[in-house]
């Protein structure tokens, strides 16, 4: 039977009469998380499990001369003390773009906090007592701690060899570069990766500009604080390697692990119970190889849990220094933008090359820019390695792009809304040539934003309003699969490799299946994130789950329905075109009908069997054009500044979530408010501070994250639903949008309140006070 023979009969007509999709349903995981019953990786302790403790480097950059493990090994209960010397026969590094990341430091350490030795004990006490007794002898090397030091002509090299890295788009569909260690070229500088974007004639356009505005701005080094720090448990069985981990992308972790142990992908199983938040920091491989080498050496299950400090020294977000220059006509039309983003990426590449490419793509904004020259560098330094962080380069890029527009608005005598309106693209217009046109109505969104902000604006002194817009080429590379299994009683199991990380995907998948099959949500069960029992998913990132996994689930439901219809036509001995869809079942000829369960039971001839529907998504059809969708960010704030202390109060926070279709409006609001609040975090409070080789605030008491008391006085989270996405019912992703342009919105609001333009975030009270008083960033105490 082919599709064309089936009667075209959507279960539910477009946008109306939906029973489950679009409803603010209670989250599936709510109760067990609130009561503490939910299982996280930390709760998984296999029988006979050993415990690992990491001995970290206490130098920024040093050659390892000797590791003395004798005292540690003498501690009762210590089972193994592992260094990179013990990894003979394994591929000792990982990294999905360039495999430069040592599992345990090889020959030298590249940052304070780098894992050097893994101590394994019967329990945590013996392992940590053993860890205290490992003696490491180093030969100190000069360290490069900042962008300037790393780019100095005679700078010490963080990596002596160059690793091949690929261009953006998909990073050759994101496969890691092949092991090039034998043929590696010697490195000549500390540049991890470069990226460029160019069209038009920038030189000529600047020459023709009436007004040219230049901005230089620093984006802080951040930690994407998730309540659950990294942890993994690994063991080898006759079936291969099994790792349970706090990972956003279990399938990508599987690839790294398969390379380390030279195992077929099928023999590596990575599963993820609930994830206690991720914000991008749990994308890609983290502790999994450490736990796995522990299990490989001891031949027992090994569990590794780090604290917040250990997590910060595992992954943090790229700091950035961005220069943006824009040429305008006298009435504020953009003629050209020229810019450079430099990311301070730490000791290993991890995902920074992609973050860089995205920062360059996302710096110039959703505007008509006829001439562009954008460049970016990601730079190695002897600091904790940086990788993905919510927004993926957009916060770093948009900060310069948007702040520059606000400075221009001041010079051009235009208000920030009007300047944006004069340059903002309309729906369908391309901002990256050859890519998908913008699938959002930003003019309408900006109108909603302006209306709300102006409604409650105060004209008191030391108050200021700032707005920010951003557009992210989101969705990542469109590869997704899903399986829907209809049972003999009409209930259904949906299997997806997408991770429930607190964003509510579990509920969204249930809503979709219930909607598509016409069955109650109560009879839909979800199996997620298990490479050994489920369905493939590339990543849970780039705000893609509802849109791309949603499409795969929708298609899997369609496939299951098709199979049921085929079975029914056999049962009813009729041609397939006489079978029609009903909620939870089918109708046949002569007024006959049957539920899914009845069809399955009659076809198998027993109260047994099931129907499996499979759905896939690839670069084809609606997802042919890249990116799969644009995630826009539309935010505004009003701030009040204490003229004496520089303390900033956020009076208003307004966001527009332009999501096409809100599968669960409550979840969309939560995502937008969460993203906006995290954005306020890096704008006003958060910054990892290095003093010498080491971070001075590697904990959440001193690394100041937003708290309930910081919540703005007025919060207006609006949702725009225009059905303009490629996902189910016109959905697009949410979850990063409001974070991306929050920095420039806050910075320009403070600039309007104080009359001074800042050159760095976060705008802590002291920074604002110094800004107001024309004082330097720090005092010369010498």
């Amino acid at each position: 039977m082919t599709d064309s023979k089936m009667k075209a009969h959507p279960v539910f007509p477009e946008h109306s009469g939906k029973s489950f999709a679009g409803k603010a349903v209670l989250r599936r995981d709510l109760k067990e998380k609130v009561t503490g019953a939910a299982v996280y990786t930390v709760d998984v302790v296999p029988p006979g499990c050993l415990h690992a403790v990491v001995v970290r480097s206490d130098r920024a950059h040093a050659r390892i001369i000797d590791v003395d493990r004798s005292e540690a090994l003498a501690v009762p209960g210590v089972v193994a003390v592992i260094t990179s010397d013990d990894l003979t026969g394994l591929f000792p590094r990982f990294g999905h773009i360039v495999p430069d990341h040592c599992i345990l430091a090889i020959d030298k350490v590249r940052y304070y906090g780098e894992p050097v030795v893994l101590v394994i004990g019967d329990d945590l006490y013996s392992a940590s007592d053993g860890a205290d007794l490992v003696r490491i002898e180093y030969d100190e090397l000069p360290a490069v701690m900042t962008i300037d030091e790393a780019l100095a002509p005679d700078a010490t090299l963080v990596h002596e060899e160059q690793y091949a890295s690929t261009g953006d788009e998909s990073f050759s569909a994101m496969a890691a570069a092949p092991d090039d260690s034998d043929t590696a070229l010697p490195a000549t500088d500390n540049i991890t990766h470069s990226h460029e974007l160019a069209w038009g004639d920038v030189q000529a356009a600047f020459a023709a500009s009436d007004v040219i505005v230049e901005t230089l701005i620093h984006f802080p080094m951040l930690y994407g604080y998730a309540m659950e720090p990294y942890n993994s448990v690994a063991h080898f069985t006759d079936d291969g390697l099994h790792v349970t981990s706090s990972a956003q992308h279990p399938y990508m972790v599987r690839t790294d692990l398969a390379r380390v142990f030279d195992l077929p992908l099928a023999k590596v199983r990575v599963d993820v119970p609930y994830l206690g938040g991720g914000y991008g920091t749990k994308s890609y491989t983290k502790l999994e190889p450490l736990a796995a080498i522990g299990a490989w050496i001891t031949k027992r299950p090994v569990k590794l849990v780090v604290d917040v400090e250990g997590a910060i020294y595992t992954t943090r977000a790229d700091a950035a220094q961005t220069r943006m220059r824009t040429g305008f006509t006298s009435d504020g039309v953009i003629l050209a933008r020229e810019y450079e983003v430099i990311l301070e990426s730490g000791a290993y590449a991890d995902n920074s090359p992609l973050v860089l490419a995205k920062a360059v793509n996302r710096a110039f904004g959703p505007y008509r820019v006829p001439n562009i020259a954008g460049r970016g560098k990601s730079v190695y330094t002897n600091t904790a390695p940086a990788s993905s962080y919510r927004g993926f380069g957009a916060p770093q890029g948009a900060l310069a792009g948007e702040l520059n527009l606000d400075q221009a608005a001041e010079q051009l005598g235009l208000d920030p809304y009007e300047l944006r309106r004069r340059n903002l693209v309309h729906p369908g217009e391309e901002i990256l040539p050859g890519k998908r046109g913008i699938d959002a109505d930003l003019h309408a969104d900006l109108g909603m934003l302006e209306e709300s902000l102006k409604r409650d604006a105060s004209d008191q002194p030391m108050h200021g309003i700032g707005v920010g817009l951003a557009a992210s080429d989101a969705g990542a590379f469109p590869v997704s699969t899903a399986i829907v299994r209809i049972q003999t009683d009409g209930s259904a199991v949906v299997m997806s490799g997408a991770t429930e990380m607190g964003q509510g995907s579990k509920s969204v998948l249930v809503q979709l299946v219930a909607e598509e099959l016409g069955i109650p949500m109560e009879v839909v069960q979800v199996v997620q994130s298990d490479t050994g029992a489920g369905s493939y998913e590339r990543t849970t990132g780039a705000s893609r789950t509802t849109t791309l996994v949603g499409l795969a689930v929708q298609r899997a439901c369609g496939d299951a329905r098709r199979k049921i219809a085929e079975m029914a036509s056999e049962i009813f001995e009729c041609t397939p075109d006489l079978i029609d869809h009903l909620p939870g079942g089918i109708s046949g000829p002569d007024g006959l009908s049957a539920t899914f369960g009845e069809v399955i039971q009659r076809w198998f001839g027993a109260e047994a069997g099931e129907v499996t529907g499979v759905g896939t998504v690839r670069r084809e059809g609606v997802t042919q054009k890249m990116p799969p969708f644009w995630e826009v960010g539309v935010v505004g704030v009003e701030v009040a500044v204490d003229p004496e202390t520089g303390f900033v109060t956020v009076e208003q926070l307004v966001t527009v979530a332009d999501v096409g279709f809100a599968m669960n409006p409550k979840a969309v609001e939560g995502q937008d408010l969460g993203a906006a609040t995290q954005g306020l975090g890096y704008s006003l409070y958060e910054e990892l501070v290095y003093d010498g080789p080491q971070i001075v605030n590697p904990n959440v008491v001193e690394y100041r994250v937003p708290r309930m008391g910081d919540l703005p006085k007025k919060i207006d989270t609006m949702i725009a639903q225009r059905g303009d996405g490629v996902g189910p019912y016109g959905a697009k992703g949410a979850g990063e949008g409001a974070l991306n342009p929050m920095g420039p919105a806050v910075a320009s609001a403070i600039a309007r309140a104080t009359g001074k333009w800042p050159d760095r975030l976060p705008l802590t009270p002291e920074r604002v006070w110094r800004l107001m008083n024309g004082l330097p960033e720090a005092d010369d105490l010498g």
Partner: protein
């Protein structure tokens, strides 16, 4: 991680005193102690858990003093009716300590004995001229104080004598802080703090004294609370006082900035005090 330790659970002060030594230390809320142990800064053999001693959580008026048991949590002090009536300034400050967990678990005794410089409690108690009562088992060579009841020795110290520096008090290892005593009546006062992270950057307490004067205590910004007495509030030079202090620079502020906000908060506190005193 938390290292292993022994745990004693005495039910009376005298039983607790019998357990105390250099390596066997008092433990109440653990909000500071357990963190320090987790970080490996101290590794006592035994913790003496004081939570089973009822008399350490009493509030009463005795001999013209408001007596607060050392084991009262910040929340309990903030909500106590006697404190609200006789020392509302302390109740107000206690309600603003740290965060909900710290207020529920942390005690005034623990706060004073740990002597973290960024304390609200020490600042306010200094302004209220409070004293602490320390008790040790008799016959020990601890302090040269007066004899207490029931085979114990005890001494009373005011805040300046008790707090010697950051994380440093005059408490001897065999001594227990049993209560805090605030002389009554307490005059009108204000407490204002500037806090952007978990602990205050500066706390300013000002209590009316005489017709136009005040006692001013500036805490949290330097190593110890600094007290000043003025005959006339109007004559106070906030900049000069701030200039005398030695702020500890940290992530919440440089020396320059901390001096500046100290002066701002002294001015604000004195203005508020003047308003309070002049109000009917």
């Amino acid at each position: 991680m938390l290292p292993p330790f022994g745990l004693a659970r005495p039910r009376s002060v005298s039983a607790a005193l019998a357990e105390l030594d250099e390596d066997s230390v008092p433990y109440w809320g653990g909000t500071e102690l357990l963190l320090a142990m987790r970080m490996g800064l101290i590794r006592p053999r035994q913790l003496v858990d004081l939570k089973g001693i009822a008399e350490l959580t009493e509030v009463r008026i005795e001999d013209g003093e408001l007596v607060l048991g050392a084991g009262l949590s910040h929340d309990e002090v903030a909500r106590d009716p006697l404190v609200a009536e006789h020392a509302p300034l302390l109740a107000y400050a206690e309600a603003l300590v740290g965060n909900a967990r710290v207020r529920a678990q942390g005690t005034i005794g623990g706060n004073l004995c740990f002597a973290e410089p960024r304390s609200d409690v020490a600042t306010v108690l200094s302004a209220l001229s409070a004293e602490v009562r320390l008790v040790a088992a008799d016959g020990t060579d601890g302090a040269d104080g007066t004899d207490g009841a029931d085979g114990t020795r005890e001494r009373r110290l005011d805040m300046a004598a008790f707090l010697l520096g950051p994380y440093w008090t005059d408490r001897q290892p065999d001594e227990l802080l049993v209560d805090v005593r605030i002389p009554l009546p307490v005059t009108a006062g204000v407490y204002l703090k500037y806090q952007t992270v978990e602990r205050p950057t500066v706390g300013v307490a000002a209590v009316a004294r005489g017709a136009a004067g005040c006692r001013l205590v500036v805490g949290a910004v330097g190593e110890l609370p600094a007290g000043f007495d003025f005959e006339d509030v109007a004559s106070v030079d906030a900049e000069a006082i701030a200039g005398e202090l030695e702020p500890t620079p940290d992530l919440t502020g440089s020396i320059l900035y901390k001096r500046h906000v100290t002066a701002v908060f002294i001015r604000r506190a004195l203005a508020e005090l003047a308003e309070k005193v002049s109000a009917p």
